[in-house]
Symmetry: C2
Subunit: 386 residues, 2 copies
């Protein structure tokens, strides 16, 4: 293998793939990235794969001789990221005189100096999964980011919770629905799939690990234009996201996802319209005291005054009370929440004004944007203890 | 106590002092800041003290009733930092009807809402140390920052090394010398004390813990103009730094500081002039491979070519070699260093070009700025093992 590329291209693509390199590889070859250079197309492809999450990216380079090699991911990334801008030549020992018999020696030659790194043959590197014979779903990068941003935060961080550690993706006619719950709250986003065609009418559901989707979100933010089309391939074992020169693959989570739609009430006795940022910043102050105790914040709804009052009592430490205006319909009520769940939901709701809908102080409460994205956030109230 | 102040003033001053609040206080009162309000001067003073490091700052406020109170530092800081800009009224229970008998309740009233925090009387809060009857040394903030920046990095992080965990300050006629060593390298900065007067001729030496000086550096960077004059008071137990409305006190470290001047060679057989940034960025690349082994980088000096070559051999992993130009006088030599000590010194040297002076490959090597600040950095070479 011999190729000449830009430091910035190599650096960007190594950084993008590095997130799929396991920090404690179960097999030595997984600590590597697979570098494939193709002299016919002048394209270099870099792949990292931890057997669950796989990332593949490619870029243009002057490929003098085709080849495949597995190079130590962290070491290569650390060196290349510190090299100055400009051309780098990458060449393995089959083109040089050096062969010590202990693996393959790859030489990186930047403008000045020379770096040699011991590498492995590419044969042992596992193949990235492929999904054949399924029609992909197409979604704009903006819609995909919207769906991820509105749900990822609500997944469970507890590995024993299995399917709850992922985001559930459900293909609807001309739409894709994202859902996440950790058992205490639920977030649902329905993205409008404008680029859909006849192929999208299949009823498909998969649950993809949050870890893979967080990487997807990061990659999209870095490398995709918002109008760019992303192809999603699902089957029962794998999910694959593909655009431009990039591909992310992830295993899916086994198990039945909760029937979350049943949790959402259809009718409400009370409805409030609130300024999201004001509510969030007030909760952040209140949370300082709530943190000291049981994280419970009390919300007192006063329709006469058209205001809500947030309050917290932390015995022996202090207390706080803060009112804020609201448009309220329905009777007065006191209701209590875990302040963290409330704040996380409010941070994710993409709207200036939000609608809060509820029935009693012990049934699910729904938060939605007043307009825009179709996101629903459900928080369960907690019992008020005085 | 009752006072009205700006949120931003209270927030800034709480942040500044918070670094002297111990995370695990040996006595409950030390988890507090002492707030003193003076109705005669309309000045509020905030003090934090962990019995070693003390920070006191003050600001103007409308003080309606004088008073002294110890308030929980972290809780107060967390609340105030989240309050909106604008006036805050702070009032303790001696002015209100509330007295539950469990400490003193202090009420913070921002524009909207109300926060109550349980506080303690100020009597138990320890006095900050004072130094009487000594003439201070005066130094500009810029000189003090220069001295700290050039030495703090070279102190030892190993608490058992006692005096080596501090910076040694030595009063010279019209100058202040800063020195730090961890046994492997030595940094010395001599600051010119332009604001000196006849009072500065006392020969004084103290060693101040790095932790306190890092806080001093941070405070100076935030709150002092570079031409501002800082007053330094030293005696055998305490060092006090004072300017404007701020004061930092620190205990000093007991024990004899090494006679570091003896370590600096007076004559050199070889001298190089090097571009600091180029040398540093080359070392950062080389360090990627050196990190994998024993951190040793080899420097080969070639006076014929007027260049040095940096190289590293990490068996089984890789190797690197990179040349860079240098102005060299003296014979060729190979010399090896711990790459980390070399990089840390180069980062701290405040100059575009630096001078490297040496005799043999096993005697101390000196790095100095070509011009500007009087800083000396000594690094011991290590034995080359092939």
């Amino acid at each position: 293998m011999k190729l000449v590329c830009n430091q910035s291209d190599l650096n960007t693509n190594l950084s993008l793939t590095s997130r799929a390199v396991p920090s404690r590889p179960t097999h030595p070859v997984l600590a590597n990235v697979l570098v494939v250079a193709d002299a016919d197309t002048n394209i270099v492809t870099i792949t990292a794969f931890d057997l669950s999450l796989g990332i593949r990216t490619s870029f243009n380079a002057e490929v003098i001789q085709s080849g495949t090699i597995a190079m130590p991911a962290k070491l290569l990334n650390d060196i290349v990221s510190r090299l100055p801008e400009g051309e780098i030549t990458l060449e393995d020992e089959t083109n040089t005189e050096e062969n010590t018999g202990e693996g393959i020696l790859v030489t990186l030659t930047p403008r000045s100096g020379s770096y040699k790194v011991r590498a492995m043959g590419g044969e042992e590197f596992p193949e990235l999964p492929v999904i054949e014979d399924t029609q992909p779903i197409y979604l704009s990068a903006a819609s995909l980011i919207e769906g991820l941003r509105g749900t990822l935060f609500a997944t469970s961080a507890d590995e024993t919770k299995q399917v709850l550690t992922g985001v559930h993706l459900k293909v609807l006619p001309n739409a894709l629905e994202f859902a996440a719950t950790d058992g205490h709250r639920l977030a649902v986003v329905e993205t409008i799939n404008e680029g859909s065609d006849d192929n999208n009418d299949a009823e498909l559901e998969v649950t993809v690990p949050a870890r893979a989707l967080r990487e997807l979100e990061r990659m999209l933010a870095h490398s995709a234009q918002s109008e760019e089309t992303i192809a999603l391939h699902f089957d029962q074992g794998q999910a694959i996201f593909e655009w431009q020169n990039q591909r992310l693959t992830s295993r899916t989570l086994d198990g039945q996802y909760p029937q979350y739609r049943q949790l959402l009430p259809r009718q409400f006795q009370r409805e409030l319209t609130l300024d999201r940022k004001q509510l969030l910043s007030t909760l952040e102050r209140i949370a300082v005291l709530a943190d000291q105790k049981n994280n419970i914040v009390k919300v007192s709804i006063d329709s006469g005054a058209q205001e809500i009052t947030l309050s917290v009592e932390a015995a022996d430490i202090g207390s706080a009370v803060e009112p804020m205006p609201a448009q309220i319909s329905g009777d007065d009520i006191d209701i209590a929440f875990n302040v963290k769940y409330l704040m996380e939901g409010l941070k994710a709701l993409p709207a200036t004004e939000i609608v809060m809908q509820l029935n009693s102080n012990l049934t699910p409460v729904i938060f939605t944007p007043l307009s825009g994205v179709k996101m629903t956030y459900l928080a369960m109230p907690v019992q008020l203890r005085n």
